[in-house]
Symmetry: C2
Subunit: 299 residues, 2 copies
């Protein structure tokens, strides 16, 4: 993410440092009776990554005058849930990936059992963080956040998306079917980020509706860009090999509608997202720039 | 569980039916976009089982005048968390078990990826159930229950217990080390059952302390009995083979201190548990009988 030192780039690095610092402290305070489990969890949670989901939470908070301190716990929880899903998706029984963020995946660096347990305990930790006594959120807000995240990650969202993704390997799926899988597998958690940040806000039902449409559009845009990177990206910048979808006999956007149509779809999704963002808030700056960054990213 | 039709046995079957009925309804209402994931989750959650953890919750509620309806959600959540842990523990990378409750384990009946995802989504579902709008519990009570369960299941409890259990295979552990593993792997969730049931109660701090000691004692007693059954139990009644710990080069209570000393330990634990139960409540009947049942069980 190279850019001139703008107000936005300071905001980005501040938020990333804020999150990384807190995850770091989390693993210092959260001791485990099993040093190996602790190490495996910490290895994956602190392996870097763009922290896009926490950035979305903080940027949405900023657009709706929610202090960032109120969003630290949901930001951490979302990143832990995302990381748990990566650890499990990488397992030999699933995507069988050996590289993630330029480093050996958890089950390669440790072993399969440790990776399964690290993912399991990381999911639990997300809910522990959100349910622990919180000086910034009231009980109703905390509970609402837990509900939003559990709906996004489980049988109604991410887990079903991954199950469908695996079930359709080698199958001739349509663009609609692909969109449905993406909406579940990555879209649901990205939408949840926006929803979480709005919980402690004063947003009106109308503003929330616009933000939900914004969230759905950027969620899908994020995945279309991911699919494009798998076809035309640079493995060195990505920190993982490209062409993996084809290798797995898995259809993605470029495979179904072509590279150019995928790029056009991406543009339309972003236009739609930004239209609704402008209808939702008069203070969309960082979210707008973050949207651009997400779809212009090389990794 | 053969017994004369007593008030207690009616209570037991009422609670088991109550729980099974609700789990059944849960999987009717909780549709998944992935039929296979839904089927794998339902297969394991409705595979029978003694439902000891929900029974402990209901019996504790009864002893402290908490209406059973207030405890339905925590009872379901605990059973889902327990079932998720069984599905993952049975995986080839962990205990590699092919039979559970007399039926093929989840990864045998389905496949490894489905079993991993079914466990993942089942954990999420437990937290969804506890965070959903609830007519019997207020937000603080719901949040407290989520916190208790996340502490019991994750890095401070069950997941670390399983990690230590795997890490000490083939090692010459002491009785203290074995007790520590058991306390984490099964004790923490059993203690959580008692704690959960007390959340909506009027129990005093002193009563709670006695109940915590009761919970720790029966948690360990449960596991000592489990270890004994693995050595001297009947595979037909258990629904799974015996001698598995020895086969895995895993030390259990009979292996470390002998069968007779294990049986004496069990008796002492139960005496201690019942002493504190009687100090905690004047209405201990069902909990007392349940304790007897747990340690006299053949399966």
């Amino acid at each position: 993410m190279k850019m001139a030192k703008t107000k936005f780039s300071s905001f980005l690095s501040d938020c990333q440092n804020r999150l990384n610092q807190q995850l770091h402290e989390l693993f210092i305070t959260q001791k485990s009776p099993s040093p190996r489990l602790h190490e495996a969890m910490q290895y994956s949670a602190l392996a870097g990554g763009k922290r896009i989901r926490p950035l979305l939470i903080y940027a949405t908070g900023e657009a709706f005058d929610v202090p960032l301190s109120h969003l630290d716990k949901p930001a951490m929880a979302v990143e832990l849930l995302h990381t748990y899903s990566l650890i499990h998706d990488d397992l030999p029984a699933m995507d069988n990936d050996v590289l993630r963020r330029g480093k050996p995946t958890c089950h390669i660096a440790f072993d399969e059992a440790s990776a399964i347990l690290a993912g399991d305990a990381m999911q639990t930790l997300a809910f522990e963080i959100l349910s622990a006594p919180n000086q910034h959120l009231d009980a109703h807000q905390q509970l609402r956040m837990i509900f939003i995240l559990s709906r996004a990650c489980g049988i109604h969202g991410m887990a079903s998306g991954q199950a469908l993704d695996l079930a359709t390997l080698g199958e001739n799926i349509t663009q609609d079917e692909l969109q449905h899988i993406h909406e579940l597998k990555t879209g649901a958690l990205i939408s949840a980020c926006i929803e979480l940040a709005l919980v402690p806000s004063q947003a009106s039902p109308e503003q929330i509706t616009h933000m939900q449409i914004f969230a759905q559009a950027i969620g899908l845009a994020f995945q279309v860009q991911d699919d494009l990177l798998d076809v035309i990206g640079d493995p060195n910048e990505l920190g993982k090999p490209t062409g993996m979808d084809a290798k797995r006999d898995k259809l993605n956007y470029p495979a179904i509608i072509g590279v150019e149509a995928s790029q056009n779809l991406l543009k339309n999704l972003v236009t739609n997202a930004l239209d609704h963002l402008h209808l939702a808030t008069k203070k969309p700056t960082y979210l707008k720039e973050l949207t651009q960054l997400i779809i212009e990213r090389n990794a």
